[in-house]
Amino acid sequence: MGRARAIAIGLALAAAGCGGVQSALNPAGPQASAIAALTWRFFILCGVIYVLVIAALIWALARRPTPRDETAEGQRRLGRIIAGLTVLTTAILVVLAVSSVVAGRGLISPSGPGAITINAIGHQWWWEFEYQDVSANEWVNSPNELHIPVGVPIVIKAMSRDVIHSLWVPNLIGKRDLIPGIVTHTWIQADTPGVYRGQCAEFCGHQHAHMAFLVVAEPRDRFETWLQRQRRGAPQPSTPEQQRGHDVFMTGPCVMCHTIRGTSAASNIGPDLTHVYGRQTIAAGTLPTTRGHLAGWISDSQSIKPGNRMPPVPMSGEDLQALLAYLETLR
């Protein structure tokens, strides 16, 4: 079951179209589409210029010089041609610059109504996404996996708890840096449902390479269902094994860093685990969420993601199985 799920996730991620899940050329939202259109315009125009320059070079190299070339008139003619080409180049650059500025204007802020605001907080080496909880004065936390309703602009306030990171999900939007001490802003919108992958794009230390996240864009009703579920705390353990697992968690080092809402575990050094088994990946997009992968991660995360902040947590085989049974209830 676990292995099949892993493969399914991998295939789903890889099969999201030409260029793949993290590709700027595979836009799934209005901003990425606008940028992709701008990109193609630039590539085509620059490509034409390149071909012309190389053609001129080849012609220049192959050509036999004629006596007229050395005359003053010949030189002046060449000079005029160069002047003309310079003017043409300038004109093309102006067109490109204007094109870029116009496209940029459209990206600044969302045009549609009904935007949802979330906080994106960067940590070494995971993502914290917070949704404002409507009823209670609390924030709902969904680390490393961002769910958004299709067709709705999501305003993101971005911050960092440690070093500079950069939020980037190419299918939807370009990058925005997360800088400690200030709040930066961006917004995303998906017009096509799907799972998109984002990755930190500013070198942030040891495990910069393994700081990814998923954006799950789904129809509004399914999003609301998901959000409702996120607001709920963890269920009580219902079997003895789950109870044992719960106790292993509460009496072990886990509580030093992790929150499980509805229990006494309330530390926010590490990701919130209240719905860990409901997410598709663990360790910031590094591994699919399966029992086996969780077991490996808990026992020795350092061998999977060396340098990350979670120490190895060795325990007896039975304790581990019990803990996994408990974690499986946290969906």
Binding site: A14, T39, F42, L57, T89, V163, I179, A201, F203
Partner: protein, 664 residues
């Protein structure tokens, strides 16, 4: 001193019909000059050398050594990235390696090698016997060498910097990079920036004050113009990076808070300061190459440089605009949109002067009949690769586009296209071109052409796929990537291309050594080139020119009159050099240049010790500065008492030829 004095111009005596010296007289002059300008030998002598060709050659060889070292680091990176989830290098090693690769290429190879070509060639091209401030020149080399040794010692002891070649805080600050790694980065910058600034000041002074008579501004060779623009850029840009790395160092070592946002510091200020230097830095690397391209095209079309004025103005325009684009490295940081628009526009406009140069060069090739020797092949390769890189730069100038490809392999592709295409290819062409002058031997043409094709193909196979990888979402500075992203094939192709580049590098080294052993003798001017360095033997004698030539045109060797006018009256028993006017190179006064001296080496040891010690303890300031002071005093203290004729020069009532011009 109160008598009206002769204007200086009348002190210079023009003789239209001076007798040509006999061979015996020339031989005697050669003897005297060889003795006066001799390069000291032996172990101690090596540390006392102040002659620009020796120092330039050391710089070249050392910079190439660092190039190979950085290339090896790159090969290691490509092995790691050839396969997804590879375990050849772990994150800690990989991070040190990619950081050191970048630092070495930028600070220990690219800038120094261009400076080295300038140090070697500029005095020859302007007709001078040595570079200005020869002891500072020697000092600069030692500082560069010590900086490189410092960096690699750190890397080999697992203390290599590991936060990227720009080392942004807070990651590189005291909280997130404990230990000495980021301090090594900051001090490497200090070492190499001192070296580069010294050379910049020497080159500006040489180009303005030591040109042979007749070399008016209108007749300065294009490579010399390029080095002048580069030197100005170094002088204006480097202080910014000194400031940023000093801020970082102080934050890390003595508890300042320049870059700590919690108490009013600003990590983005670091980025502004760094990139205010960092962008001109790449033009500092690129502009000398443009000068080389002009020289090579002129020689291999055997035609006067087409569009000389346009080319010179373009160099200045590029240098100038280069200072107004730095924020395009910071488009993702959330700065106000209006300001960012300015930088988009400026970053696109900088294309124009470079475009003018490309047009002029293509016009020159169109007009003339190119001879396809190895140097010209590299120039053609430059045009093909660099124009592509420049156009990918235009795409990066567009902010929305940049926000997708910034910090991805697309950017890695872009800067390798412009730096390898735009600087390294002309440099290697320049090496093949000036090797006969520097060594007296020709390199093998067949091997040279093979070298070109290997490097050209290898380069494109390695770096072209990276454009695609960036668009497909692969960020830079990642030590590995997941297998399901679809990046596997392109990474493998890129790594195979890197293999070809290694082969090309080996070929280059082989060619260089083989030429020394088996190359045909070069003679004075094997390429029938136009500039002054080709008007003396290969390699040049220790005094550069037996008689200082008088320049009669933009292409000094081609436009020599049959009578070959020269400067006479310079003493050959001391290191006397003719200093001329800035604008028209009219003779102005005679200066005595220093003899070989151990003080530059001692001063560099003191300075280097101070820099290294200060990352370990603040007491280094107390213990480190006095030795530097002492060595500087030794450097400047005159060697021998003034001669008797001096007293006459200074006696009251003695004619003072210079008085009216003092404040001119």
């Amino acid at each position: 001193m109160s008598e009206p004095a002769e204007p200086r111009a009348r002190l210079v005596v023009e003789r239209p019909d001076a007798p040509r010296p006999t061979d015996a007289e020339l031989a005697r002059e050669h003897q005297r000059l060889s003795e006066t300008w001799r390069v000291p030998k032996g172990v101690l002598g090596w540390f006392m050398v102040v002659d620009h060709r020796s120092v330039g050659m050391r710089y070249l060889v050392t910079a190439f050594g660092f190039f190979i070292a950085a290339g090896i680091l790159a090969a290691l990176m490509r092995i790691q990235l050839a396969f997804p989830e590879n375990t050849f290098l772990g994150p800690d090693k990989y991070n040190q390696i990619f950081t050191t690769h970048g630092l070495t290429m930028m600070f220990l190879f690219a800038v120094p090698v261009m400076e080295a070509m300038g140090v070697y060639l500029v005095p020859l091209m302007v007709g001078a016997r040595n570079i200005a401030f020869p002891r500072l020149n020697a000092y600069s080399y030692y500082m560069f060498l010590f900086g490189g040794i410092f960096l690699f010692t750190a890397l080999l002891t697992n203390t290599g910097p590991d936060t990227g070649w720009f080392s942004y805080p807070p990651l590189s600050g005291p909280e997130y990079t404990p230990g000495k790694r980021a301090d090594v980065f900051a001090q490497l910058v200090t070492f190499t920036e001192v070296a580069a600034l010294a050379i910049a000041v020497e080159l500006v002074t040489t180009i303005f004050k030591l040109r042979a008579p007749g070399m008016t501004l209108n007749r300065i060779p294009l490579f010399v113009w390029a080095m002048l623009v580069t030197s100005f850029m170094v002088i204006f840009a480097m202080p910014a990076v000194v400031t940023s790395s000093t801020f970082l160092l102080l934050d890390r070592l003595v508890g300042t808070h320049f870059l700590n946002p919690a108490v009013g510091g600003d990590p983005i200020l670091y980025q502004h300061l760094f990139w205010f230097f960092g962008h001109p830095e790449v033009y500092i690397i690129f502009i000398p190459a443009l000068g080389m391209v002009s020289m090579i095209i002129t020689t291999f079309t055997q035609r006067p440089t087409f569009g000389y004025i346009a080319l010179v103005l373009s160099l200045f325009a590029t240098g100038f605009i280069g200072f107004s684009v730095w924020v395009h490295h910071m488009f993702a940081t959330g700065l106000p949109q209006m300001g960012l628009t300015f930088f988009t526009v400026a970053s696109m406009l900088i294309t124009i002067p470079t475009g003018v140069q490309i047009f002029c060069w293509i016009a020159a090739l169109w007009k003339g009949r190119p001879q396809f020797a190895t140097p010209l092949l590299f120039v053609i390769g430059f045009i093909v690769i660099f124009v592509f890189g420049g156009l990918s730069g235009v795409t990066l100038a567009a902010l929305p586009l940049d926000l997708q490809v910034h910090d991805t392999f697309y950017v890695v592709a872009h800067f390798h296209y412009v730096l390898i295409g735009g600087a390294v290819f002309p440099l290697i062409g320049g090496i093949y071109y000036w090797y006969p002058k520097m060594t007296g031997r020709m390199m093998n043409e067949t091997l040279g052409k093979a070298n070109f094709w290997t490097l050209f193909v290898g380069f494109n196979v390695t770096f072209f796929p990276m454009h695609q990888l960036g668009l497909m979402g692969m960020p830079r500075r990642v030590y590995t990537y997941p297998a399901y992203m679809g990046w596997n094939t392109l990474n493998l192709i890129s790594s195979l291309g890197a293999l070809l580049l290694v082969v090309g590098g080996v070929m280059l080294v082989y060619n260089l050594v083989h030429g020394l052993r088996a190359g045909a003798p070069a003679g004075e001017n094997p390429w029938h080139a136009d500039s002054l360095e080709w008007a003396t033997s290969s390699p040049p004698p220790v005094y550069n020119f037996l008689e200082v030539p008088i320049v009669e045109g933009r292409h000094a060797v081609w436009e020599r009159s049959p009578d070959r006018p020269v400067v006479t009256g310079l003493r050959s028993d001391i290191r006397e050099v003719l200093v001329t006017d800035v604008m028209d190179a009219e003779p102005a006064h005679r200066d005595q240049f220093p003899e070989p001296s151990i003080w530059p080496f001692l001063a560099s040891v003191a300075t280097g010790a101070f820099f290294v010690a200060s990352i370990f303890t603040p007491w280094a300031v107390v213990y480190g500065l006095p030795p530097i002071g002492l060595t500087l005093i030794g450097w400047f203290w005159p060697k021998k008492p003034a001669g008797e004729h001096v007293a006459e020069m200074m006696a009251p009532g003695a004619p003072d030829p210079v008085a009216p011009d003092l404040h001119a």
